[in-house]
Symmetry: C2
Subunit: 667 residues, 2 copies
């Protein structure tokens, strides 16, 4: 007589097992993804399964009512104390008695999928580095003395086949008390990425292990606090990077470090403290102790990277932009100031791609996975520095481009950060040249009834990055700005909104009494410089790849999420492509951090991928300047922008005047 | 024509090499022990060799004058700048041209022997864990960006075949500056025991790597500062263990931790600070920066061990005396408060044998190597707790015995620590019962002319541990004390030096006006208790080993160095053995620490040996009490002490009186 057949669903894995085999043991033998923390002691309930009954014609099995052993005392006690869903069994208690089909529900799978909320919808498959393992440790014996730690190690080897685990000194301090309090049973958190113990608790640990995914930007630090067993985000939040007081952008912070002895140390202390405080705040928001956080995954640009790990970023301020270290870093969380986390907590920092293309770009590559597509994809992470990735499964290129902060509203006459009251959307009627706009914090357009009342609280305070891009693009489409970027006069354009500003003109977007929001000629020039740099970077990558166009464009970054693809194209920020192939990826760097937090294979993947990425240095490429000059026109002096031409006809206006010409020559 | 024959002396290793092969390369190919830091660049001079000339009949070689290439420009420059001894060549520059015999002088050998100064004369073969490696690192290239660290790693792999080295964050901070200052050449200190970089300097590092061997005792902390290339001790010193203010002996410190919340933390801070300060002081004494110290090896008893690593020792105060960890520890020096050492410095703590038999006992085993002898050896490390090792190459047993501090002069009426003015040697004339003695700080006996003048500075202040042992033994030999430990009266003994002290008697060793130093009946009892515990421990090990005697007795410990074997035997502290087989090993624990510091194979050896050592727990052994009681007599109630009887005849006196009997019964 053959042994009973056991089929696990949804994997379909099957095998014959002797009658009496516990379901958990059968699952392990077949490599079925069935969780367990207590290792089969019937107390953690992680191995819950749902046996089927009746006929399964497709599987060729009929399951008898007694295919599993009857519910036993352990299961009954668990059901009484905690409650088991109807039909559910504990996989470690139920034994196989006959042919059976067993469903492993998602919550009993370690590698369950977590669906991403953001636009792209890519899911994260849970495979956290940190997992819990309960063990029973032998009691000390005077006649065969050995340390409690050595017996714990032996138990982990025996009961979980875990060997050579590193144990930080900080955990040794609490070990003896935990063992005695737990009656020689403890739950150990093991970081499998590093083969290292990161926490020890008495008895069965039921609270989830937490992790922090951090996107450490020059301006803001954003973090998600995640449950590492379910992947659920328990709290999200951000704080300003306190290094701003040392310099608005990266290069001014590098300068600060160069000009002030100990300046790098100050900045390191500032960012570490902010990061630690953010962890504490997110934990408080989620109602959990920050000490339960056992892992932090951090993505950041190279300057932030060096300042975080305590390395002076001075070399990043000058060619050849040498990183102190480019590989991924695995550190004690306390080594980078994350003192509020558990004493054994670890920090993983993604690898940097180059001196200007950091771990944040690596995280974008991880999130957007251009290496897994056929289509030639350009990924643009727009910020103070833009990082660009171009490629597909065959080849991947990267560069950064010094766009400056104009896209973030800086260097713009009425520019401001994206905050309530800032103009974020703009439309201009091509016939009347009249604008309408929306501000952050209000869903109405400025010509909708009730707009004035609705914006009374915030006021109309300025233009943010996406607003200025739309404004300039709309001005170009409405014939207010010509291809060279000149604003016409009231007479040339035919609207009194074009007002003289010295020798140039500005376009009056809004006024209320003596408060006015104008788009000035200087604003247009600032945007042209920024977009030329961005486009030139993209072109340089395309040269390197030997292509004239791209199939997909992905706009990444929190700011990228707010850019209208059509307007970006009109401006010539990005190469010409079919508009429906231009998508926003939201905070791709942050999502990449979360992937690396929740799935340890993602770490190995990005570490290997970064080695494959070819870096193109814009600062020394002779063609960069040439591309930069040609990209100054709106959308471009020479590139055809054929897709754009198919959807938008740009007015063929020219406002070049002797004045403007002379002025530019005199500069 | 065969290639030239190259023979290296003193190893005798030989091989044929093509004409033009550098001597260093030939040495490496043959596995000859020839040092090099610069890796053959002709700048470190570590590979100096001395070619022979003329006929070597025993080796069957005749060396022609041109057997090596002529002195080249690199060697000339080195000779001009630094000076080369006559006939010396740089092994990396001189190439083989004909048959040649090459002597590798001791200072060019990595594994040179360092002769031990102390009594046993055992040598240490140098094989330090930390060695220097100079590398040329590729300069950064924008087109193929990689971190400076990654290129350093590549250079170490290429030029020294060193791979997967760990690098602490603290060293990353100085890496970029070192590379640039050194013109892309740096010297790296690699801890080969841990495969980890522990320091990085620009260019060629010429100063030696330093290491600290620490014997961390309950009372004193002693350390040697060593040059890790030559093994030379640059400075030695000791400080009082500041934990003394929390309790004189180990158990009172454990009690302090139990009774006072945070008491263990206080004691940890105190010992770490003292250790760090000692390192600074020794460095100052040697005229070197403490930051040049890259390794510390520490031996200590289990309570000191736990307090040093920051673990509450409370479990060591009660059965089953469970250690938090027993294995050897490899830590960052800063993790145990050694902040003055180099930022990448490491600390190695030897393994503990059991809850009462610590890393200090392991160090004694390493130093005295009973596992390498045929003779059954008893090693006694006398201190507040005595640790005992018994065995030979076949088997090794260990136990500790709670002797208490009497052997250190504590609990003795006139007892004091070993310091100038303390009586350390005593002789009593068996006929006259008159004593003479010596005090620490003076080479004269008390009956020598000039003694009074010579001791004027120190005075005569008390009796130290070795003094009381000799005094009691001499009293026994002179018939002043009987086998049961009773001091006779003046009438019974026949000397007015036996003075009544209440119902008992004392022996007047010295008086000056109203200042007197007596050996009281209470002192005898205290010594009896201590020696009984020590002897009972030894007997327990002998029981376990199934023997009635031992072949060798080694007295270890700083105190052991001062105990006279004959007096120890008369007292019955140690089992009977031929007197010339009882030797002192000096500070064997400290020597073991130095061995583990200078020779990394010693670490592997002691780690393996500790696993082999069988532990015997005295606290729970039923026979311990029985042995203890029998050992109360001087020398012993039942054991024959045949060897002793052959050299010393102990007077058959008995001072038992009704008084003494009643008094003892009433207790």
């Amino acid at each position: 007589m053959t042994d009973p057949l056991v089929i696990f669903m949804p994997s379909g894995k099957r095998g014959h097992f002797p009658s009496g085999t516990p379901v958990l043991q059968a699952a392990r033998a077949l490599g079925v993804d069935l969780d367990s923390v207590c290792g089969g002691r019937g107390i953690c309930s992680k191995c819950q399964v749902q046996p089927g009954s009746g006929s399964f014609p497709k599987l060729g099995v009929t399951v008898a009512p007694d295919a599993l052993s009857a519910v036993n005392a352990v299961e009954r006690r668990y059901d009484e104390k905690r409650g088991l869903k109807p039909g559910r069994r504990l996989g470690c208690q139920a034994t196989v008695q006959g042919d059976v089909v067993i469903d492993v529900p998602p919550e009993s799978q370690v590698h369950r999928q977590v669906v991403r909320k953001a636009a792209s919808g890519r899911a994260i498959v849970m495979d956290p580095a940190t997992r819990l393992h309960m063990v029973t440790v032998e009691e000390p014996d005077m006649d065969a003395p050995s340390g409690d730690l050595e017996r714990l190690r032996a138990a982990l080897a025996d009961q979980w086949d875990l060997r050579d685990l590193a144990v930080p000194l900080a955990l040794l301090r609490g070990l003896q008390a935990a063992l005695r309090k737990g009656g020689w049973q403890v739950t150990v958190a093991v970081n499998h990425d590093e083969n290292r113990i990161s926490a020890i608790w008495p008895g069965l640990r039921e609270a989830p292990v937490l992790g922090l995914a951090v996107d450490l930007g020059s301006t803001t630090i954003a973090a998600h606090l995640c449950d590492l067993s379910t992947g659920a985000v328990l709290a999200s939040g951000g704080v300003m990077n306190p290094q701003i007081r040392f310099g608005e952008d990266l290069m001014s912070r590098v300068s600060y470090a160069m000009m002030n002895t100990g300046g790098d140390v100050e900045m390191t202390a500032a960012v570490r403290e902010a990061l630690d405080r953010l962890a504490v705040e997110l934990a408080a928001e989620a109602g959990v102790p920050p000490g339960d956080i056992l892992e932090a995954v951090i993505v950041c640009n190279p300057v932030m990277h060096h300042l975080l790990i305590g390395v002076d970023p001075v070399e990043l301020g000058q060619a050849p932009f040498a990183l102190a270290t480019s590989d991924a870093l695995r550190l004690g969380a306390e080594e980078i100031g994350l003192a509020a986390l558990g004493p054994g907590a670890r920090a993983y920092i993604l690898p940097c791609i180059a001196g200007h293309v950091g771990a944040d770009a690596a995280a974008v590559a991880l999130s957007e996975a251009p290496d897994k597509t056929e289509a030639l994809t350009l990924i643009v992470d727009v910020g103070t520095n833009a990082e660009l990735l171009l490629g597909n499964r065959d080849r991947l290129l990267a560069c950064s481009s010094p766009t400056g902060p104009a896209f973030e509203g800086a260097q713009i006459s009425s520019g401001q950060r994206a905050a309530p009251g800032a103009i974020e959307r703009v439309e201009i009627d091509p016939a009347t040249k009249e604008p309408r706009f929306r501000v952050i914090g209000c869903d109405l357009w400025s010509d909708d009834p009730g707009f004035a009342a609705a914006t009374e609280g915030t006021g109309i305070t300025g233009i943010c990055g996406s607003g200025i891009i739309e404004a300039v693009a709309e001005m170009r489409m409405a014939g207010i700005v010509d291809a060279k970027g000149l604003i016409g006069s009231a007479a040339q354009v035919g609207t009194p909104r074009c007002v003289a500003e010295g020798r140039t003109h500005g376009y009056l977007l809004w006024e209320d009494g003596d408060r006015r929001i104008l788009v000035t000629q200087g604003d247009i020039r600032a945007i042209q410089l920024a977009k030329s740099a961005l486009y030139a970077g993209a072109r340089l990558l395309m040269d390197e790849a030997g292509v004239d166009g791209v199939e997909r464009v992905v706009l990444a970054g929190a700011f990228g999420a707010h850019i209208s693809p059509r307007h970006a194209m009109v401006l010539g920020m990005i190469p010409d492509a079919a508009l429906d192939h231009v998508t926003s990826a939201g905070n791709a760097a942050g999502h990449g951090a979360r992937m690396a937090l929740c799935n340890r294979a993602a770490r190995a993947h990005i570490e290997a991928l970064v080695r494959r990425i070819e870096k193109v240095e814009t600062a020394v490429a002779p063609r960069f300047q040439e591309h930069f000059v040609a990209a100054n026109a709106i959308p471009h002096a020479t590139d055809p922008f054929a897709h754009l031409a198919g959807t938008v006809t740009l007015p063929d206006v020219s406002f070049n005047t002797a004045n403007e010409g002379r002025k530019r020559r005199r500069r």
